[in-house]
């Protein structure tokens, strides 16, 4: 039988913070319903049964600050956005207290200090409703299933990597590389004598070495330089020579 699925439904209309159990995560989950300060404000306005176009700003500000204090006592880390909103509310509240006459002299339509906040709340509410619509759509959609795997699928998977996959992958490589660099620094670098020994042993075994491949094997710049000097040294002192079988072909190190 199916286990009850967690978070199966959101009560979009009445999100109210309450503690379900004593574990800290649960508290977080429930308060998380206030995805942001605008959600909390909308909730408070509704709770006060206030008109969104005529917000009793003093009362709502007090309520808002009370919730923030509650969240703090519950040891919930508050997003900075909640504090920014608190500051905005206090600012609007103080503007509302200023006598209107001061502005009236300008003979212009005075804007309500609350107007910008009201606009934001209205805009935000629209998207909350849109989110609810998306939620309902996805619930319906989850009742429709597509066909199971058939043979031809295995050879024909679509390329579904996005640019973000590229970035994630690249970042992983860089991290991996960082660790390798650390290891390399710790490793003692080869001396010229060691490189000569290494090369001689190699050519004795293989008879021929492609310079291209040899240089590719070198892990660091100093090693590459060392290998280059060692090749010149071997050609000068040993019965070893460089040859190129065709123009622009690979240069080969070979025993005479």
């Amino acid at each position: 039988m199916e286990q009850p699925t967690e978070q199966l439904s959101f009560d979009f209309k009445s999100v109210q913070p309450h503690i379900v159990s004593e574990t800290r995560d649960e508290i977080k989950l429930e308060l998380g319903a206030f995805a942001g300060p605008l959600d909390l404000l909308l909730f408070l306005i509704k709770q006060e049964q206030a008109n969104i176009f005529d917000i009793p700003i003093a009362k709502i500000t007090d309520e808002y600050l009370k919730y923030i204090r509650l969240m703090k006592t519950l040891d919930i880390s508050l997003a900075a956005d909640f504090l920014v909103m608190a500051a905005t509310l206090i600012e609007i509240k103080s503007k509302m207290l200023l006598p209107r006459e001061i502005f009236d002299e300008a003979e212009e339509e005075i804007e309500d200090p609350r107007q910008e906040l009201i606009d934001r709340l209205l805009e935000h509410q629209k998207f909350k409703n849109a989110a609810e619509m998306l939620y309902e759509r996805s619930t319906v959609e989850q009742a429709v299933f597509t066909r199971g795997q058939i043979e031809s699928d295995e050879n024909n998977l679509e390329t579904n990597a996005s640019v973000f996959d590229l970035l994630t992958v690249f970042q992983k490589i860089l991290e991996r590389h960082k660790e390798e660099i650390k290891l390399e620094i710790e490793r003692e670098e080869m001396s010229l004598a060691e490189m000569l020994k290494h090369l001689k042993a190699k050519i004795f075994k293989a008879k021929e070495i492609s310079l291209h491949e040899l240089f590719q094997e070198m892990q660091t710049r100093p090693e590459l330089v060392l290998a280059f000097i060692a090749v010149l040294e071997l050609v000068r002192t040993e019965n070893i020579k460089l040859l190129q079988r065709k123009t622009f072909g690979d240069v080969i190190l070979t025993k005479v």
Binding site: L8, A79, E123, N129, V144, S162
Partner: protein, 185 residues
């Protein structure tokens, strides 16, 4: 090549319908009329008529399956009313729902696309970085180039997977954002 053209010309409408059905089945993901027309070397109108006919046929015989317009193409899916039996067989549960924060962010992106992170912050009033990361991980949104403004921020939009998972034929099928206005108090 000639043989192919000849073969094409000899196809009856019934045959075209059958091949369309087979191709939509094989594709798995939504298949566009354009692709169907190309594979069949028939014109788009013929293919469209064939798909319409097929959709009707499935409905009339009260099949356990349906042919649906989704993400700009056509796809076969089971009928929603049998979800209980299918879930019992597949032993699956409805997949984890998106968090409210992720759904809200998705709504903003769906309606305002292409949209940048600061623009989303403006509407939601809250940092949405982790919600955006979740949506990217679930492939519901994709990067849509940079905005030519200070800092050239990355813009986001919804993906094909979004349309599939939310059962949308195309983005114009989303109700207008203004329709959600009158729901306020």
């Amino acid at each position: 090549m000639d043989a192919e053209i000849e073969e094409k010309q000899s196809r009856s409408i019934g045959e075209i319908i059958s091949i369309v059905e087979a191709l939509i089945f094989v594709a798995g993901e939504p298949l566009t009329v354009k692709t169907l027309a190309e594979v069949l070397t028939e014109d788009k109108e013929t293919v469209e008529a064939a798909v319409e006919e097929l959709v009707q046929e499935y409905e009339q015989r009260e099949s356990g399956l349906q042919i649906r317009a989704i993400a700009g193409g056509w796809q076969i899916g089971t009928r929603a009313e049998f979800h209980e039996e299918i879930r019992r067989f597949l032993k699956t549960r409805p997949s984890a729902k998106l968090s409210l924060a992720a759904l809200e962010t998705l709504a903003v992106i769906a309606y305002k696309q292409p949209v940048t992170v600061p623009e989303i912050l403006e509407i939601r009033g809250v940092q949405s970085a982790s919600a955006i990361k979740t949506l990217l991980d679930k492939r519901l949104i994709v990067a849509k180039g940079r905005k030519e403004t200070v800092g050239r921020p990355m813009q986001y939009g919804t993906s094909k997977d979004f349309m599939i998972q939310f059962g949308l034929k195309d983005l114009s099928e989303l109700p207008s954002i203004e329709d959600f206005e009158d729901l306020i108090q």
